[in-house]
């Protein structure tokens, strides 16, 4: 009963700390359930109430499981797993009388910690994980040390945790990784933001309200210029009036583009549950498990569930050459609708044909149309009517990038110029503390590519025509201040604000480091890491080598650790005389003259002298020096050095 009382508060504490990051993901009634049960147990400890009986516990268990089944709709899979764990965490303290139960409570806490890691992968949650493991381990130690104080247990926990870190890192970097998942099933994430297969008017203006990170691009050399920071992701081929759709899956690219001075960088992509991979316009390699398609978009072979890093190469100046036959679909438009727009395009086309102008001039004309007709770039465009392109072009004249892009692409196709809508991001934030660009959902952007003779596919951003500041300075400058989401409106830039900005930059830079070292660590990284040591994972030999390397490193670190743990006493470390003397004694012991623990130096020397006359003189000399050092006032460093030398040179065996 006593240990029940003593361990209750720490145990509940560990559970609370473990479950705290999960609270937003839990159903409110489960949080209430935990608070109620834990509160009851704490009161029971304080006022000496009896814990609930077996039947009560059974009923509660059944009720809890039913509750999860009903509220999550199923008992296995999805968020219900965390819910079940929380139910168990609530119940477990009710039956912690035995040592076994208390240990299992700690195990549940560990398990809850790992589930929270599947929800979020930030540095903050990682640091919290260490804290939570520290607390839970402390409780586990406390449970196993009945007479101990909590402070001691905490100290021991910290010690074990710190000692485990080198080994953990070793395992982390060397444990063989595989790409993709074991069985193909992966847990579905709750709603994530990002691009979809299709683009509707208003999608992007909704997306830019989101402050979440999309990805981070780290450059080894110079950053690309702001106006070239177009992060290409999705190519939309099929036009359905106001709605654009990916349409077809482009074939795989046969010949990647080449050029001068590629940008080499890596993208650490936040999980978005899609197969998009965003790359600087235009990518030229296929990182990891991805495919470079004929429309220069990168497609992953799996849906991205976890932060991952991709090594990319891109050229910002390029020429894609001839229009391929399959790309003729870039001229297709819906059969009907948006008559006025079609007419406008046709006039441009016929004008240009009659004046023998190039397609480039039509593009110019279209852009001028946007420029000259008082179009307004706004986050809150009005709703559009049944012919949305016409409505936008000739009536409302207010829109966000997707309005401009889809209207522009529509006009181009109507004018007979192959055009496609590109979804991606524009710009991104640089950080003075790191050589990377942070791209957020708020940087989402849509633009157009048209195919021009002699130039190939060429990027055209109609938004630039309306609001050049969007491209040059970012959205904060392009959109009226009152329309901006809170996180983007800078307000007055006081000293405090800049200070806060600095701190945020630093924190982001640290996060970037963290992401690139841990979160983004993939099998590719592992391969290149190991190949530096001459281990190539592709071959069987390499695999065996890596396994042996892991094993030997683990054993080595074990030996090092135990050497540290079982090291000589502090006293003998402090006392060089005794250390040397013990060395001397062990040399003699190996030669067959062990010293009894209670044998003084003179007796010992005398005994050896009796047994082995040949050693007598040398042993006597060393022993005299030892006695001077240890038992008289006359010892000094010089004699100590001499003693060390004598013992080192002493070889009784010879």
């Amino acid at each position: 009963m006593k240990s029940f009382d003593k361990n209750m508060v720490p145990m509940i504490g560990a559970l609370v700390i473990a479950i705290a990051p999960q609270i937003p993901h839990l159903k409110p009634w489960i949080v209430g359930w935990c608070i109620l049960l834990w509160g009851y147990m704490l009161m029971a400890v304080k006022y000496g109430w009896a814990g609930p009986g077996r039947i009560t516990r059974f009923i509660l268990t059944v009720a809890g499981f039913f509750g999860v089944a009903i509220s999550y709709g199923k008992i296995i899979g999805g968020g219900s797993f965390v819910g079940l764990l929380a139910i168990m965490a609530g119940l477990k303290p009710l039956e912690t009388k035995t040592h076994r139960d208390q240990m299992i409570t700690a195990f549940i806490a560990y398990f809850i910690v790992i589930t929270s890691l599947f929800e979020s992968e930030t540095l903050a949650i990682t640091l919290y994980m260490f804290f939570s493991v520290f607390v839970t381990t402390g409780v586990l130690i406390h449970v196993n040390h009945p007479s101990g104080r909590l402070k001691e247990s905490a100290k021991q926990s910290a010690k074990i945790l710190l000692q485990a870190i080198p080994l953990m890192l070793l395992l982390f970097f060397l444990f063989p990784r595989i790409q993709g998942s074991l069985w193909g099933f992966a847990r579905q994430h709750t709603a994530t933001t990002g691009f979809n297969d299709s683009l509707n008017m208003g999608d992007i203006s909704k997306l830019v309200q989101n402050n979440e990170n999309a990805f981070r691009a780290e450059f080894s050399g110079d950053l690309p210029k702001p106006e070239t920071r177009y992060w290409r992701g999705i190519v939309l081929w099929r036009c359905e009036g106001a709605r654009w759709h990916v349409g077809i899956r482009a074939p795989q690219l046969q010949v990647p583009i080449s050029g001068a001075q590629p940008y080499e960088y890596s993208v650490i992509l936040e999980p978005h549950n899609k197969k998009w991979l965003f790359a600087l316009d235009l990518p030229a390699n296929e990182p990891g498990q991805s495919q470079l398609l004929d429309d220069y978009s990168l497609r992953l072979r799996y849906e991205l569930r976890h932060k991952q890093r991709f090594y990319l190469k891109s050229y910002t100046s390029y020429n894609t050459g001839k229009l391929k036959p399959w790309e003729r679909i870039a001229l297709k438009l819906p059969a009907q609708g948006n008559k006025k727009a079609r007419e406008l395009a046709h006039t441009w086309a016929s004008e240009s044909r009659s004046e023998a102008r190039t397609d480039e001039q039509i593009v110019e004309t279209a852009l001028n149309y946007f420029k000259e007709n008082n179009f307004i770039y706004t986050l809150n465009p009005p709703l559009l009517g049944s012919n949305p392109i016409d409505d936008f072009l000739f009536n409302k004249k207010q829109g966000f990038c997707e309005h401009f892009a889809s209207a522009f692409a529509f006009l181009m196709r109507a004018a007979g110029i192959p055009a496609r809508v590109i979804g991606g991001y524009l710009g991104g934030k640089t950080n003075p503390y790191g050589n990377y660009i942070l791209v957020r959902q708020s940087d989402a952007h849509v633009w157009v590519e048209v195919w021009l003779k002699g130039k190939g596919w060429t990027r055209v951003d109609p938004t630039y025509a309306v609001a050049p500041s969007r491209i040059e300075q970012g959205m904060e400058m392009a959109v009226p201040a009152d329309e901006l989401p809170d996180f983007l409106s800078s307000g007055q830039r006081g000293v405090f604000i800049t200070f806060r900005e600095q701190i945020r930059n630093r924190w982001e830079a640290i996060n970037a480091q963290w992401d690139s070292f841990f979160i983004g660590y993939s099998s590719d990284d592992q391969k290149s890491f190991l190949s530096r040591f001459g281990i190539h994972l592709e071959t069987l030999k390499g695999k065996i080598k890596s396994l042996l390397a892991v094993l030997s490193l683990v054993i080595l670190s074990g030996i090092l650790l135990s050497a540290g743990l079982f090291s000589k006493t502090r006293a003998s470390r402090k006392d060089p005389i005794q250390r040397i003397y013990l060395k001397f004694c062990s040399k003699l012991a190996k030669a067959g003259f062990p010293r009894r623990a209670d044998q003084g130096p003179r007796d010992y020397a005398a005994e050896i002298g009796r047994k082995e006359r040949r050693l007598k003189e040398r042993v006597d000399e060393i022993m005299d020096v030892y006695i001077i050092l240890r038992y008289t006032r006359r010892g000094n460093d010089k004699i100590l050095n001499k003693f060390g030398l004598l013992v080192n040179r002493f070889h009784p065996g010879k």
Partner: protein, 321 residues
């Protein structure tokens, strides 16, 4: 026979060890506990989950916990290594009581936590061992019958720090405890010892019967013998000396008890001795083949009880600690 021969290969050092003894890590066994195995299963589950979702933080936590498990194993061994068992001692007990074996244990270099001491199948004593001072640990073992009780080997074990591993050492320490017969109230025919003849020739011994003289008090004299009357008259403390004539003392003999059952007889005699001792009487004990002259006091009592304990058992007096 064959089996024991094979066992000897596995446990070659079953011979008893001498105290003081220092635990060496090579003699420490270590295995995961049931909870430890469960935890390892949980870790494997976590690992599979992390691989499946290729979740790097999952890997990080799994490897952290795995490394901590490994480190805790080293700590468990470290917690046991170097414990010194300095000496053991015990006091006689009566049959069917728990014999208490006292061990003096000392820890060098660092403190030891939650070390359990027990004899096989007996209650565990779990204690911390402080640094550089001798800790005194009582290990209990139930006794069944009178005579010389030797418990099995001492088991020192520990689950510290995380309870995932149990490290243990089996020490065949030679300890033995004298177990007196269980006292049993019964009819005793107390015969006065008449063999020494008439009173005049009777040897004078310090006894309880007749007052002889007052002697200045010396520390250690029994309090009930102090002459408080003299003290109250303003004199110094004096001790009353009594003499008993040897002839008038009580002698317990084998025939004092009517019962035919030897064990029962011994139990009744034990009870008798305890009673006589409490009454501060002078008594002797005669058993077949054993004669203890009359006397009194603690040492005498123990001598008599020991004689009863060892009666008709193979003589192993020398071995008794």
């Amino acid at each position: 026979m064959k089996k024991s021969g094979r066992l000897k290969i596995f446990f070659p050092r079953k011979t008893s060890i001498q105290l003081p003894h220092q635990l060496h890590w090579r003699r420490i066994y270590i295995l995961p506990t049931a909870q430890g195995l469960l935890f390892i299963v949980i870790l494997i589950g976590m690992l599979i989950g992390s691989i499946n979702y290729s979740n790097n933080l999952g890997f990080l936590l799994t490897f952290l916990l795995g490394s901590m498990t490994f480190i805790s194993m080293l700590h468990a061994i470290r917690n046991m290594t170097g414990i010194r068992i300095i000496s053991s001692g015990t006091e006689p007990v009566f049959a069917e009581e728990a014999a208490v074996f006292e061990f003096y244990v000392c820890s060098e270099k660092y403190r030891r936590f939650a070390i359990s001491f027990s004899y096989k199948g007996e209650k565990e004593t779990i204690r911390d061992i402080a640094l550089d001072t001798n800790s005194h640990i009582n290990v209990h073992a139930m006794t069944q019958k009178r005579g010389r009780f030797t418990p099995g080997p001492l088991v020192i074990s520990s689950r510290y720090p995380m309870g995932l591993f149990r490290a243990w050492v089996v020490l065949p320490i030679h300890t033995a405890c004298t177990v007196y017969p269980k006292p049993l109230a019964g009819q005793l025919n107390l015969g006065a010892d008449t063999s020494s003849g008439d009173d005049e020739n009777g040897k004078e011994i310090t006894g309880v019967d007749d007052f002889k003289e007052l002697r200045p008090y010396q520390p250690g004299d029994p309090l009930q013998r102090i002459s408080w009357k003299a003290f109250s008259r303003g004199l110094d403390l004096f001790t009353k000396l009594f003499v008993g004539k040897a002839g008038s003392a009580v002698c317990l003999t084998w025939d004092s008890v009517a019962s035919m059952n030897i064990e029962k007889k011994l139990s009744i005699l034990t009870h008798g001795i305890l009673k006589l001792h409490r009454m501060n009487l002078v008594y002797g004990l005669t058993l077949p083949g054993e004669f203890i002259d009359q006397g009194s006091g603690d040492a005498h009592k123990h001598r008599c009880l020991k004689a009863l304990a060892m009666f008709a058992l193979p003589d192993k007096k020398d071995e008794i600690v």
